[in-house]
């Protein structure tokens, strides 16, 4: 056993505990500095993790540290750091102008930080899961933490409603998943992905085994909000506190994808090879559903909820392609998506934190109130819509390329490419709607007071903008990272 491999996870869990304990002796008005402490600690962990990391397995192969795991661990650390910045702003009563919304968080803020850190540790374990038991435990660690994070604003009905919805549907999908794991184990006697891969060939005709796999995928489909398990996403995105929504959109979705990749391409590659058509259909419907439902939305967070469903569909293009270039495209797209979505949510968090409504119209006049925030939101929308030179364009380009590469084997891939194209065109409508309401809103904005930004908020925004441009304009480093990372899948 090689316990040093999990030093990062130990560090993160330890940090979460320290944050909980710090609550005892930290005066309430200084608690937002806990977030900066946590950010600093995560930053140190990220930097120490940047070099060449030891690879190998621990706990009898349950835990694997390989290229893919390292890629996603860095991804989750960056996401958590940006989300912590955002939550420090969200909860800060000094800037909140009466903090009607942030009130609850202001009182229990260190728990909020530590829950984010615990969710992060779940994601880190998910990145390394190489065993169905480990998969289930890490998923539960993420999901249970998110139940609390979602309903953290106890005073707001929508937050509680979102928490309850997430809890019920999440518990349901966990039940499906654990049932599926039981069926897989019952038929094959294996839980480890690599061992399963060596015997799965004998079970491709076994209906009970296939049912088990499908049930596991149901649970993962819930995490990534793919059709037909996407029902929860808009409500939860709308109701949850904004930093939670952001972490849900980026961290939780990416965790779902890394597990999906491991299950499909490491544990049961022989079965997956026959599933091109169902994957194509799910991907296509997810894209269309997310984009079409986003069109009439007025609430900004709900709109991003639907758009995140659509983006899950785009990411599934890479899964459906069943190729290494498709998997690399997923990793690349996710890294662009990380900066884009966190940039958008940071703006929402800063602009709307003292408003009850989160309508798109609340952005009216933002270019006069804060040009920096207006620019960030515009760039994020442009990147989500996949317009050059932002990160989203090259990501979509890679995904489409991966799909079209397979076109010769199955004409369904061409249909999928055209579906994605239709989705992109539809999405232009609502993304431009957001930009239009920032710069050229019809109804005169009620409030034109400038928005003051704290130093850390500016840092967050600068990181997000730099990330969007860097990944869009210099794709080479990220692409080679992604390409090396996915080599781990085909062991």
């Amino acid at each position: 056993m090689n316990a040093s491999l999990i030093s990062l996870e130990i560090g993160v869990v330890g940090l979460g505990l320290v944050l909980l304990l710090a609550d005892f002796w930290m005066p309430a008005e200084r608690r937002r500095f806990l977030a900066y402490g946590a950010i600093a600690a995560l930053g140190v962990l990220l930097v120490t993790n940047l070099g060449d990391c030891a690879t190998g397995t621990a706990f009898n192969g349950m835990f694997v540290e390989d290229g893919l795991a390292i890629f996603f661990k860095r991804f989750f650390l960056v996401a958590a750091i940006l989300v912590l910045f955002m939550s420090a702003e969200f909860s800060d009563p000094g800037c909140a102008g009466g903090f009607a919304e942030a009130g609850r968080i202001a009182s229990g803020i260190s728990e909020y930080y530590s829950l984010i850190v615990f969710a992060l540790s779940g994601m880190l374990f998910a990145a390394s899961a190489n065993n169905f038991a480990m998969l289930f435990v890490s998923i539960e660690l993420i999901t249970v933490t998110f139940y609390v994070l979602t309903s953290f604003q106890r005073g707001r009905l929508v937050s509680l409603e979102a928490g309850v919805k997430y809890l019920i549907l999440g518990a349901l999908s966990s039940a499906f998943m654990v049932y599926g794991i039981a069926l897989v184990w019952g038929t094959t006697g294996k839980l480890n992905f690599n061992e399963l891969a060596s015997v799965a060939g004998q079970f491709t005709g076994n209906k009970i085994f296939l049912l088990g796999v499908v049930l596991v995928l149901v649970g993962l489909g819930f995490k990534i909000a793919a059709f037909p398990f996407q029902i929860w996403a808009p409500d939860v995105y709308q109701g949850a506190p904004t930093p939670t929504t952001a972490f849900l959109a980026v961290g939780s979705k990416a965790a779902g994808f890394v597990l999906l990749l491991r299950v499909l391409f490491t544990a049961i590659p022989g079965v997956t090879a026959h599933w091109a058509n169902p994957l194509i259909i799910i991907s296509g419907i997810t894209i269309l559903y997310g984009n079409l439902c986003a069109v009439p939305q007025q609430n900004l967070k709900r709109l991003l909820g639907y758009s995140s469903i659509a983006h899950a569909g785009y990411l599934l293009l890479g899964v459906a392609a069943l190729s290494a270039s498709g998997q690399a495209a997923i990793l690349y797209y996710l890294s662009g998506y990380l900066f884009t979505v966190l940039g958008a949510f940071t703006v929402i968090c800063l602009v709307l934190r003292h408003l009850d409504r989160e309508d798109i119209s609340a952005l009216a006049g933002l270019n006069q109130r804060s040009p920096l925030l207006a620019t960030t939101m515009t760039l994020a929308m442009v990147s989500l819509a996949g317009i050059p030179p932002m990160a989203g364009f090259f990501g979509k380009f890679l995904l489409l390329k991966a799909v079209l590469e397979q076109g010769a084997t199955n004409p369904g891939y061409y249909c999928l490419a055209f579906t994605a194209l239709a989705g992109v065109v539809i999405s232009l409508y609502y993304y431009f709607g957001v930009i239009r309401s920032i710069y050229w809103s019809k109804d005169a904005p009620a409030d034109l007071s400038p928005i003051l930004l704290s130093g850390p908020a500016k840092v967050t925004i600068a990181i997000c903008i730099a990330g969007m441009f860097w990944i869009g304009l210099f794709p080479n480093p990220m692409l080679s990272l992604a390409t090396t990372a996915v080599k781990a899948l085909a062991r």
Binding site: F397, K401, L404, E405, L421, V424, V425, F432, P475, S480
Partner: protein, 517 residues
Amino acid sequence: MSILTYIFGWPLLAALVLVLVPRNYRVIIRAVALLATFVPMVLAIKMFCQFVPNMIGYQFEQQIPWVESLGISYHVGVDGLNVGLILMGAIVAFAAACCAWEIKEREKEFYILLLVMSGGILGAFASLDLFFFYFLHELALVPTFIMIGVWGRGERKNYATFQITLYLSIGALIALIGLIALYVQSGANTFDIPKLTEYVQAHPLAAHSQNFIFPLLLFGFGILVSLWPFHTWAPLGYGSAPSPTAMLHAGVLKKFGLYGLIRIALPLMPQAAQHWMQILAWLCLGNILYVGWVAMRQRNLNRLIGNSSVAHMGFVFLGIASLNLIGVTGAVVIMIAHGFLASLTFGLSGYIYRQTGTLEMGELGGLARKLPFIGTALLMAALAGCGLPGFANFVGEVTVFFGAWKAFPLVTGLALWGALMIGALYMLRAMRNVLHGPMPEKWSGIPDAAHVWRKLPYALLLASLLIFGCFPRLLTEKIMPDAEKIVNLAAPTKAAYKMVVQVDFSEIRNPKSEIRN
């Protein structure tokens, strides 16, 4: 650094600089925009003069690897096909920046978008890499939508924005799928156009892939160029666009699709091209006859110009469809000539709209008396649009007809009728309504283009039309050797046509190619 990088890099860089300039420094913003389009224009003229015709390979080349694993590199260079287009694009971009004085609100954003649009499209024409070719065009396309949506005019502005966004995004994305499919199916693992062309020459694409990819490119690019029946976005879109946007889009951006067809679709997929060109020839009649007819019925000057610009695209398609040296050369000449012409007419109609607040031809009349300069320029533009000798359009159209006659005699006959009769009819009728006849009392006070600065863009565009109309050899001697390469790749059997036609039409005769034959 290649001169091409500077030509399209300056506007993009200036756009970034303008982001940092406070919005109330209006003079500085305008000066930066003018300078950032003037310098590329001078550079483009310099490049055009330095260009050596009939050289093997590309000139002013520069290549920097960007994503090695996918074979994407930043690769710019010119040959005869795009050297004239870049010159035209740079001149039009400067003229459009000059005409942007009519924008009075949110100037900063307008100039930023205008510069992004100019830089993007010049870069797309200079690019020899499929990825950047598309990437830079998309960069130029998106500002168009925003500019029409925000600074557009007329009651149907929102509808027009919606329609043009939908049409052009779909067209661009269909072309993107076609380009990616081309990359994937060729197996060359490179986006570099020269390398790809070489590879495909040695390992031709399978017939079924050609038949799948070619229509994607034809209709994807076709939508961008307003190929009938996908043209309906154009008249309304141009009618609603602010004039600098209409100038740049109708003049330059629209030629992207045509250039893509000539540069990529024809040489890489010759078999499919042979087959689809029969269909394209008939579709282009839709542009020439049907849209010409529609133009006759227009009451709004801008709609009429929009329709006529769609109709002119039909001649280019006819030249491409003929798949022989004369036709393709003529097509490129029309692309350049029409770029000047379309931006000139949209610029002039923009001036009239600015002064009168309307472009309904029923309300206008007799303006030539009050607007001697603008009126004369508009009349000359209209004559150029009818294909009067002395203007560059005549050279292109007549060349296309010579080229197309051999391939499609019936289509050419009908198209000629459209060019001579319909074109002259609607153009001259519009000029009579706008410039001559009784002048309504309310227009008695409107001023002509007052000083040199106001006249400059129109004078520049008119001069370009006349120079290339009187000395077409400046263009054709550059275009022909490279058009010949394309035609040889696309339709080896048809290359023989050129001898006969060259004797007929001594103006564009090229001694070097005669010797080779």
